[in-house]
């Protein structure tokens, strides 16, 4: 009891802004910092990379000569069976993979937050909406997504073109089948928040429910939603690559990492690196996003922060 640490009491810390405190807590999570660094690197690589790495255009005859090349200075990741530069393909594929992850997450979070807020705030809607959430949770996701892609791919492709069509269909399909976690989290938060005094005060001076939700409730559910969103990106990227891996995702000339992996499978025995690059990219993205989510959870939780 006598050897209590005196330093802690002697040095009163300057009260930092909450953004600063969150960042400090986030930085103390080694995995999260590593994840942020890796993810930033990957995002920059797929966004800026194509401007920095512009290999000369090869004619078909030239391309046929450089098929299946091992990594070299001319082709840092080698070439594929049609003589295409793997590095360029990896960057293009990464752009699509990451875009699918982010857009699908935004759809899922928007739907999830909307349903969560409605169910949490309006008692009459709570029962039906939560039953619906439970039912969606019981849907067999992968089989259902496969069926959706199989049935609607050609129709949507004929309206919007094969590339945009595949993107819209897959993003939409993933988005509307993965909002349930967010809805549950938000509902729980809203149920607790709406009993708070400031919400009561707002209601007693006649503020409309819409305004209470927008001004007083939504800003307070941002942190759990952000954690769910981070993890949602990882989930969406994995789901998309599963679809592509099963041959029911993106067309081969508009690849994602999952599609590249699927294409590489045939040549796995001779050129294993063609499977390893996209697989590594997916795994690293998901791993770093998961670590970021972990770090965010700690950083945004005021009970853990500053401990």
């Amino acid at each position: 009891m006598t050897d209590a640490t005196p330093q802690a009491t002697v040095k009163p810390e300057k009260p930092a802004g909450s953004g600063r405190a969150i960042w400090q807590q986030f930085r103390s999570h080694k995995g999260a910092v590593f994840g942020l660094a890796v993810l930033t690197f990957l995002v920059l690589a797929v966004l800026i990379g194509p401007y920095l790495w512009q290999p000369e255009k090869l004619s078909v005859a030239q391309a046929m000569k450089v098929r299946n090349q091992p990594p070299s200075w001319q082709f840092p990741l080698g070439t594929d069976q049609l003589g295409r530069d793997m590095l360029v393909r990896m960057m293009q594929a990464g752009k699509v993979s990451l875009a699918v992850g982010f857009v699908a997450m935004i759809i899922a979070i928007t739907v999830g937050t909307l349903i969560g807020v409605l169910a949490g705030y309006f008692r009459r809607l709570d029962g039906p909406l939560m039953r619906m959430t439970d039912m969606f949770l019981a849907l067999p996701l992968i089989p259902l997504l496969l069926v959706m892609v199989m049935l609607f791919r050609d129709r949507i492709a004929s309206v919007m073109g094969p590339e945009l069509g595949a993107f819209t269909l897959i993003v939409f399909a993933i988005g509307i089948t993965s909002w349930m976690q967010a809805a549950r989290i938000v509902r729980g938060e809203v149920l607790a928040l709406k009993e708070r005094e400031y919400v009561l005060a707002a209601r007693s001076i006649g503020v409309a429910p819409r305004r209470i939700i927008l001004r007083h409730i939504l800003p307070n559910v941002v942190s759990p939603v952000m954690v769910a969103a981070t993890l949602g990106v990882a989930e969406a990227i994995i789901t998309e690559s599963v679809l592509s891996f099963l041959g029911l995702g993106f067309p081969p000339d508009f690849p994602t990492w999952g599609r590249l992996l699927f294409d590489g499978l045939q040549y796995m025995q001779l050129y294993p690196e063609r499977v390893i690059w996209p697989g590594l990219a997916i795994s690293l993205t998901v791993l770093s996003v998961n670590y970021i989510g972990d770090g965010l959870r700690d950083a945004l939780d005021p009970r853990i922060r500053g401990r």
Binding site: G31, R131, D134, M135, A138, L139, P140, L141, I142, P143, L144, L146, V147, M148, M150, L151, F152, D154, R155, A234, I238, S241, V242, F245, L246, G247, L248, G258, L261, L265, M268, Q269, P272, V275, I276, G279, L280, I282, S283, V286, L287, N290, Y291
Partner: protein
């Protein structure tokens, strides 16, 4: 307990109906009526009977009920006929696969053992790896072993099975040559040599699925153990002078198993979903591979039935998990 079970059962029925409706409508609303797509290889009289059985000219609602009837009445009737030699089905039209032109359920019945052998073993191996890791990481929290376990779990969460499976094939089958790359469905276990061969070909798929599951379950085990380690009854047990072994493996473990058992039950349906990938990767001829094959062949009855079977699995195991939790933990029965 009985009311609790009954209530859970009653909730499961509308859920199943909802899922069947989603699956039915998805196929029904898709461009082109499924019945106009019946391949020309199906004989005209069979086609006529299929159209009548599904009521293709009826409104959507009637068609849905007819589809349900085929699923829940005609097919079980055939199953009972097969078992007891009765004649319940009365020669009614069964759900036919368009690519094989034989009843969908016969094909599924042939495929399910393959899935169950591989998936079941994988899940068992996963659980057996996960439990000791979880227990020891919780007992020695923040030790090197625990850190390693956390890393292992994080990697297990993040590396998708299609990539870990491919890596295993490249490393263990192509480079080292220890195991075959493809699963041979024809292999029959008759003697010791073929049994060893069976074990060798199961090794890679089981490893792939088992590790992915072990990662998840070990985390749950760890956090559940940690929750219980600081409870008063643990201190009491220690104060009574019980050995550390008794305290951890009897008192703490038993109480920590309650949520873990439900997580294990809840994980079973998702592993069937994961099996779709593994089966395709390793060429296991199970229901996951059947689903992908049917999708590529546009075999709609097969796809509908398999998707619904996956849904039934999910709902059933959710129910089992709920009831198990109620059995193990009387506090949540609220009746």
């Amino acid at each position: 307990m009985l009311t609790f079970t009954l209530r859970r059962l009653l909730v499961a029925i509308p859920t199943l109906l909802f899922i069947s409706l989603v699956i039915f409508l998805l196929v029904d609303l898709a461009p082109g009526s499924p019945l106009s797509d019946i391949p020309l290889t199906v004989p005209p009289d069979v086609r006529q009977r299929m159209i009548e059985a599904l009521g293709a000219d009826q409104p959507v609602f009637v068609r849905y009920v007819l589809w349900l009837r085929q699923f829940f009445w005609v097919e079980p009737a055939y199953l009972l006929d097969g078992w007891f030699g009765t004649n319940l089905a009365n020669g009614e039209q069964r759900i036919l696969s368009w690519q094989a032109r034989s009843p969908v359920f016969t094909i599924i019945g042939e495929r399910i053992p393959q899935t169950l052998i591989v998936i079941g073993t994988a899940y068992l191996v996963g659980v057996l790896i996960a439990l000791p890791i979880g227990i020891y990481s919780a007992y020695r929290q923040y030790s090197a072993f625990d850190q390693f376990g956390t890393l292992f779990a994080m990697i297990g969460f993040s590396v998708p099975t299609f990539f870990s499976g491919t890596l295993f094939i490249i490393i263990f089958a192509v480079w080292l040559g220890w195991f075959p790359t493809k699963y041979d469905t024809q292999l029959e276990v008759t003697d010791w040599a073929s049994f060893v061969e069976q074990l060798r070909q199961m090794a890679l798929p089981v490893m792939t699925l088992g590790l992915a599951n072990a990662a998840v379950i070990s985390r749950y085990m760890r956090s559940s153990m940690l929750d219980n380690m600081t409870q008063d009854y643990v201190r009491t047990a220690r104060a009574k002078g019980m050995t550390e072994r008794t305290v951890v493996l009897k008192h703490v473990l038993r109480n920590s198993m309650i949520p873990v058992v439900t997580v294990i039950a809840l994980g079973i349906p998702s592993i069937f979903g994961g099996a779709i990938i593994t089966e395709n990767l390793f060429g296991v001829n199970g229901i996951g591979a059947a689903l992908i094959g049917a999708i590529h062949a546009s075999d709609l009855p097969m796809v509908q039935t398999l998707a619904f079977i996956f849904a039934v699995l999910i709902v059933t195991f959710n129910l089992i998990a709920d009831i198990l939790y109620g059995l193990l933990d009387p506090r949540i029965r609220y009746d």
